[in-house]
């Protein structure tokens, strides 16, 4: 009866801020880090794996979700909210294929998710989704993309980005280290994502989850041994760099 007069939760403050949206962005900053790197023919997603309690079962994949054969999503923020968004996105991917007989483009599905998030910042009695998402994949014509959405409903395309706790130092690291040379080499892209994560995560293959996607291939979650192999390579490179610097002196 009085629901018609329920005021929206997200209202403007006197100085033009939407506080609920900003508080949602704070919730994102509390979530575990996720990093995405786009190469010329590969896209990489890396997430920080939170340590599980002793009696808890370690579920392998939780933060990287497959939306369709060619699109994957990693998020930082409220897991329960993410579940809802991921489900809606999955339905939309199939619905799109049913109506137009083509798989979704990355931009389309990102726009859909962003529009959904925006709707919840302007709806009666609803709060915004407390998560940012990194969406990776390949369009049907083979071009790779990496998009980022945030609780306000905006989305942008990135070459490499990070979200969640410690997103800022990771992003700064990526800005320093991302070059066209890296983008052209698949192994370098994987190592860049891993290096970026290891900046802020306790070192160890057990604490990171890495997934790669290549054109027309399904999403591949890297096994523990493969991640350890890359970490060993990175350590070796770091040592060689340190040696070179010493010799220069």
């Amino acid at each position: 009866m009085s629901s018609r007069y329920d005021r929206a939760i997200t209202v403007f403050s006197p100085d033009g801020h939407l506080f609920q949206v900003e508080y949602a962005q704070e919730a994102v900053k509390k979530g575990s880090t996720a990093v995405g790197v786009r190469g010329n023919n590969i896209v990489v997603l890396g997430v920080e794996k939170k340590a599980v309690a002793k009696l808890q079962e370690d579920r392998t994949v939780r933060k990287i979700a497959l939306l369709d054969d060619h699109v994957a999503l990693a998020f930082a923020g409220l897991t329960a909210d993410a579940r809802i968004l991921i489900n809606r996105a999955r339905v939309e991917c199939q619905s799109h294929k049913l109506t137009v007989e083509d798989p979704v483009t990355l931009e389309y599905i990102t726009r859909y998710i962003a529009q959904l998030k925006q709707k919840y910042t302007q709806s009666n009695g609803r709060r915004p989704f407390g998560l940012s998402a990194l969406i990776i994949g390949f369009d049907y014509d083979g071009t790779p993309h990496l998009y980022q959405t945030d609780p306000s409903g905006t989305y942008h395309e990135w070459k490499a980005n990070a979200i969640g706790r410690s997103a800022k130092p990771v992003r700064e690291f990526l800005e320093k280290s991302y070059t066209d040379e890296v983008a052209g080499n698949q192994e370098e892209c994987i190592k860049l994502a891993l290096k970026a994560l290891l900046e802020v995560v306790q070192s160890g293959a057990k604490n990171v989850e890495l997934a790669v996607m290549r054109d027309k291939e399904p999403l591949k979650m890297l096994e523990l041994e493969e991640v350890e192999k890359y970490i060993a390579e990175i350590e070796k490179e770091k040592e060689e760099e340190a040696e070179k610097k010493k010799q220069k002196k």
Binding site: L66, D68, N87, R90, V91, C93, Q94, S95, L98
Partner: protein, 208 residues
């Protein structure tokens, strides 16, 4: 006028459909594909009201894909068949029923091969062999006589050819070509299209 057939073997299901698409007296297309891929190991053959056939097949196919995305693994053939039957049954008593007859053939690593026969009244039967259309009258009799559970792939193709040649000989409508596929643990494979020629002596008169 349309014909669908499925024959289940020990570790495969052989399916075939005719390739003509006709409206009234006009044959619009002679290379139609009436089989729709649901998953890597599941195929659906549809016949019936044109429009309804493709619509229903694609609707079921996308819902099966959605299940795979949500859960990380495919629906088993029996689950998919029951899901299909439920949809047919629900729509049957609505204002917009689907006028489709279909066969679903699949291979599951736990259940083995399976063939499901469904019709527009939403009945479903799991059968070792099944057929839809006028051609079924000719085919089922032949398969009753010669089918065995441990039929090999080569023998199954022979049986299929027998059925198809009988249809060529005795069915008043000309069905010139039949698309053939086989489903097994390695997926769905295309076999050569069968274009039956009328022979004077029927193969079915081989020694009993």
């Amino acid at each position: 006028m349309e014909f669908l057939i499925g024959i289940q073997g020990k570790d495969f299901v052989l399916v075939a459909s005719d390739t003509s698409s006709a409206r009234s007296i006009l044959s619009m297309k002679q290379d139609t594909d009436k089989m729709h891929r649901m998953t890597d190991n599941l195929i659906m053959l549809v016949s019936g009201e044109s429009g309804d056939t493709v619509q229903f097949a694609e609707f079921i196919s996308k819902n099966i894909q959605l299940y795979k995305m949500r859960n990380g693994y495919d629906l088993s053939p029996s689950a998919a068949a029951n899901f299909t039957r439920k949809n047919l049954a629900d729509y049957l008593r609505s204002r917009t029923p689907y006028m489709v007859n279909l066969l679903m053939a699949g291979y599951d690593k736990n259940e083995g091969p399976s063939l499901y026969f469904m019709d527009y009244l939403a009945s479903m039967n799991k059968c070792p062999f099944a057929a839809h259309g006028y051609g079924a009258f000719f085919s089922l009799a032949i398969l009753d006589r010669y089918y065995t559970e441990d039929v090999t792939r080569a023998r199954a193709v022979e049986l299929l050819t027998m059925c198809v040649e009988e249809i060529k000989r005795r069915f008043i409508i000309n069905l010139p070509a039949f698309r053939v596929r086989i489903v097994d643990k390695d997926g769905i494979h295309e076999l050569p299209t069968i274009k039956p020629q009328v022979s004077v002596r029927s193969i079915a008169s081989e020694s009993l």
